[in-house]
């Protein structure tokens, strides 16, 4: 940092000497960062590396937020969030999940699932508690467990078994210190959606060992093979349902989500939330409520569009020898690149520098993601087709 202004106390002897948080320093920065920097520095990149919808937020929600701002929705809301929004959420979950939460004390509006997950882990964990994290998984799961003083226990899922949450694999990792199992279905990065049978078995396992099930439901509306099965339906008394608007309603930038959990745990989360976040953004809560009320057709159209791209893109990859199970949800495919003989990083870096297509190497989502790359199809069809051509050229070279 070049500056002519000498700040007070910048001499070497005045630098703070005491160490930073060892917990935080021990966590490496996300491996995604490197590819972001590289992709940002290039022109004409087709990005399949984006973990957010390419649709804008449905206009009815945006318009409602504009109206709300004009009429003064610029204040705090109650810590729990707008009651009307909580009521809409618990009604929706009763309808879709067949689980009835109480809007008054079992539902909390958060700043996205990210905050909800942080609250959950902090309210739940004591030092030394283990949380089983099946991987490959979303990059934040393990760091968040560690930030909350817990010990993440990664468990490798089998790509040959479509990254199924096999209760036998999970069961083998359980110790007397295990407190919870943390997972998302449909999954980022694999796009796999878990079956009702496996989730039932997982719930039985959780009951047997007295474990919590922390269920990231952010992609719950983006499923392509029939209705979504939430684990909360199998074991509501020990499930934390983390949901949000970012992916299904294309509302990533609004930072609004929710957490629903049995009352005693929900109240502890509320305690952290009231001292840290206070409340989710007021105008975002209004937009989310409007989205729930009026944007269902928009969601249906987006899902239908993702579905078409999913078919086209996974078929295209398959024809190139980059095999992947057709994903059941979210907007990711996670093909194997074994046929190229490259590592995930070599493939992603080569593809970006030679052909200007950005994908995310699978190993950033956990060691068992090695040999795969994550491609997001939240990109218009013509670009996906062009990306397939470029990938073909890259593999051929």
């Amino acid at each position: 940092m070049a500056t002519d202004v000498q700040r007070s106390g910048t001499g070497p002897s005045m630098q703070p000497q005491k160490p930073f948080s060892r917990t935080v320093e021990a966590i490496p920065p996300s491996g995604i960062r490197k590819f972001f920097d590289l992709a940002q520095s290039m022109q004409g990149v087709i990005s399949l590396g984006v973990g957010e919808p390419d649709f804008p937020t449905p206009w009815s929600a945006r318009e409602a937020a504009i109206h709300a701002l004009e009429h003064g929705a610029t204040t705090y809301t109650s810590n729990s969030g707008l009651l009307a929004l909580r009521e809409a959420i618990v009604d929706d979950l009763a309808d879709r999940y067949r689980v009835r939460y109480r809007a008054e004390d079992e539902c909390l509006i958060t700043s996205g699932v990210s905050e909800g997950l942080d609250l959950t882990l902090r309210a739940l964990l004591n030092p030394g508690d283990e949380v089983i994290v099946p991987e490959p998984c979303y990059v934040a799961y393990q760091p968040c467990v560690a930030f909350a003083g817990g010990i993440p226990v990664p468990v490798a899922l089998d790509p040959g078994d479509a990254y199924r949450l096999d209760p036998a694999i999970i069961g083998a990792a359980i110790t007397e210190n295990t407190k919870a199992i943390l997972f998302g279905s449909p999954s980022n990065p694999t796009g796999s959606a878990q079956s009702a049978g496996d989730l039932d078995a997982l719930a039985a396992l959780a009951r047997e060992h007295d474990l919590w099930l922390l269920s990231d439901e952010i992609y719950d509306r983006l499923t392509y093979h029939g209705v979504h099965t939430p684990v909360a339906a199998s074991a509501p008394e020990r499930t934390v349902t983390l949901g949000g608007f970012s992916k299904s309603y294309a509302m990533t930038g609004w930072r609004v989500g929710y957490v629903c959990a049995p009352e005693p745990l929900a109240q502890l989360m509320h305690r952290i939330h009231q001292y840290t976040m206070l409340c989710a953004p007021h105008m975002s809560q209004i937009a989310a409520l409007e989205a729930m009320r009026t944007a269902q057709d928009d969601v249906d159209e987006m899902v239908a569009d993702y579905d078409r791209r999913r078919r086209l893109f996974s078929k295209g990859l398959d024809e190139l020898g980059l095999t992947c199970p057709v994903p059941g949800g979210a907007f990711y495919v996670f093909p194997s690149i074994a046929s190229t003989g490259m590592t995930s990083e070599e493939f992603a870096e080569g593809l970006l520098t030679q052909e200007k297509v950005a994908v995310v190497p699978g190993n950033v989502f956990g060691p068992s993601g090695e040999g795969h790359v994550r491609c997001s199809y939240a990109t218009a069809l013509p670009q996906l087709e062009q990306a397939l051509e470029r990938i073909a050229r890259f593999i051929g070279s």
Partner: protein, 159 residues
């Protein structure tokens, strides 16, 4: 099967093979359905959505509200069909409200449209009044926004 029509509606060019890929329905079935729909009139025709302004071809459109004295036993059908047959007429709808028919007229110039309304449309039997609104600018047409698309503001790689 509805999916096939959804794809065709946004891309009339789509081949049966492409539709099969996008919908997961096998290609032979796609062909069969399209042929059947063409025969039965579910698919009326295949069209391109042309922005004539952008091409440089100036056309004038007017929406005309038409008041009609309905005919005993036939209602508005007879008059509506009579109006619809003119080449200059793009669309004819029976609507609720103060007027009866709302029609869309297209011509090469304002004079051409005005002449048509004055000499042809208002002269039709049972047409008792017309009210003409010239189109000044299209913002959305056929479900398609014609304003500039919003730029993609997403970062290129995100978790």
């Amino acid at each position: 099967m509805r999916e096939i029509l959804t794809v065709l509606e946004s891309d009339a060019h789509a081949s049966a093979e492409r539709i099969a890929t996008l919908t997961g329905i096998d290609e032979a079935t796609v062909r069969e359905h399209i042929a059947a729909w063409e025969a039965s009139g579910v698919i009326r025709r295949y069209k391109a959505v042309v922005d004539w302004d952008r091409y440089g071809d100036e056309r004038v459109t007017a929406f005309v509200d038409v008041t009609v004295a309905p005919e005993r036993g036939r209602g508005f059908d007879d008059v509506a069909e009579r109006i619809a047959r003119f080449r200059e007429i793009r669309a004819v709808h029976l609507v609720s409200g103060a007027q009866d028919l709302r029609v869309e007229v297209e011509g090469a110039s304002m004079k051409e449209v005005a002449d048509f309304v004055a000499q042809k449309l208002s002269g039709i039997d049972r047409v008792t009044a017309t009210s003409t609104h010239f189109l000044l600018r299209r913002y959305k047409d056929d479900g398609q926004l014609l304003t500039d698309p919003e730029p993609d503001q997403r970062l290129s790689v995100t978790p």
